[in-house]
Symmetry: C2
Subunit: 249 residues, 2 copies
Amino acid sequence: MSAVSIYPVAGLPEIVKGAPLPELVMEGLDRLEMSLEAGDVVVITQKVVSKAEGRVVRLGQVHPSARATEIGQRIGFDPRHVEVILSESVRVVREAPRVLITETRHGFICANGGVDRSNTGGKEMVILLPEHPDESASRLRASFQKLSRVAVGVVISDSFGRPWREGQVNVAIGSAGVVALRDYRGRQDPDGYELQGTELAVVDELASAAELVMGKLDRVPVALIRGAMVAGEDRVQTLLRDPATDLFR
Amino acid sequence: MSAVSIYPVAGLPEIVKGAPLPELVMEGLDRLEMSLEAGDVVVITQKVVSKAEGRVVRLGQVHPSARATEIGQRIGFDPRHVEVILSESVRVVREAPRVLITETRHGFICANGGVDRSNTGGKEMVILLPEHPDESASRLRASFQKLSRVAVGVVISDSFGRPWREGQVNVAIGSAGVVALRDYRGRQDPDGYELQGTELAVVDELASAAELVMGKLDRVPVALIRGAMVAGEDRVQTLLRDPATDLFR
């Protein structure tokens, strides 16, 4: 197995609704004197995908419900922000001062329903997750294929917290053209012992690896990963645990 | 920010107690015609660190307690394996058929107290986590510094499952010479909005990135990460959430 390289793709302009993200990424690669190669994975942060898709809400136009106001007052959150979070969520998983963990309509369990108030191109705006992140990834992938004539993978990433450990890590919220899980179940290790329960969530590891070159404040919304050998056809949706077998609902 | 590269360091022999891991890693790098450079991060899987430290138990010498036998029968696990898991744990967090999630003495919440039955150099053996993984990382780091005369970071990795999402990801269980969290709290994004709660668990992202070149069955127990610019002095222990503020205990 050979080396994996991760390149930051910087210098993209502020992304607005309808911005041609694939073209902007290709221009970013041009500036690095790079071009896409078959098997490359383009990791793109959720924020720019959502902005390009117009998934932005002005808080001034939000009228919080009684429930949102009550939660907002209880946890110290802007009730308008809470209103948007609830509209993106199917249930509240945990609530604490300045913390609201919900399950999104997609099935992600994360802080604030994935509704982000930072880096939004204006203090009074929030950014929602893409409506269908796997489909967003598919569209991006098709555009890259058209522009570059090679098959690449696309991962849309976001940073999620997790129980028990401090800090967020980048995970995949949408993907196209890559494997989600590397499955070692039923294979035997070199000693003949069958590996049990060993599936690696490669698509999340790609997202985490990309974060190493991104840096939240440097406007590096895209990373190119080369050499990972992860071509496949899984979707992130397949990573979401069946609630029936999830021990932490 | 420049590119990050991840190199697999393969061809290490089967690791036994007392094996000179740092020297074996240096020999692996020699075979790649590489040498350590200042700022490199060496990611080593827990399994070889534990084996070198002799953290291996023969199941034939384990006498399961009544409690271990009861749990083993209930969940379909070898009671001797359960006995070792319980001895490594301070409490059982969740129990289900063929699943035992515990909190280890270190404070990690993971399957089987980190006690692994695969790839152990013999079917009837299990491997325990290092007793003090951060200290193990420090010792390895000191050895690398002595051998190479440059300051590198060391991360000891293991693959943990997580709630809500299928698949395991590599996380850090010990570290030396790297930052654990990149802290963006209190800094302002380009629009002047203060970032809240944004700390990236870089040390876990390094572990995940390394897994991309490891592959469970190929005996690639070590990866070299170059260009990540993550020098620091944090320990993984600092990543463990205070139970008082953890919403998922």
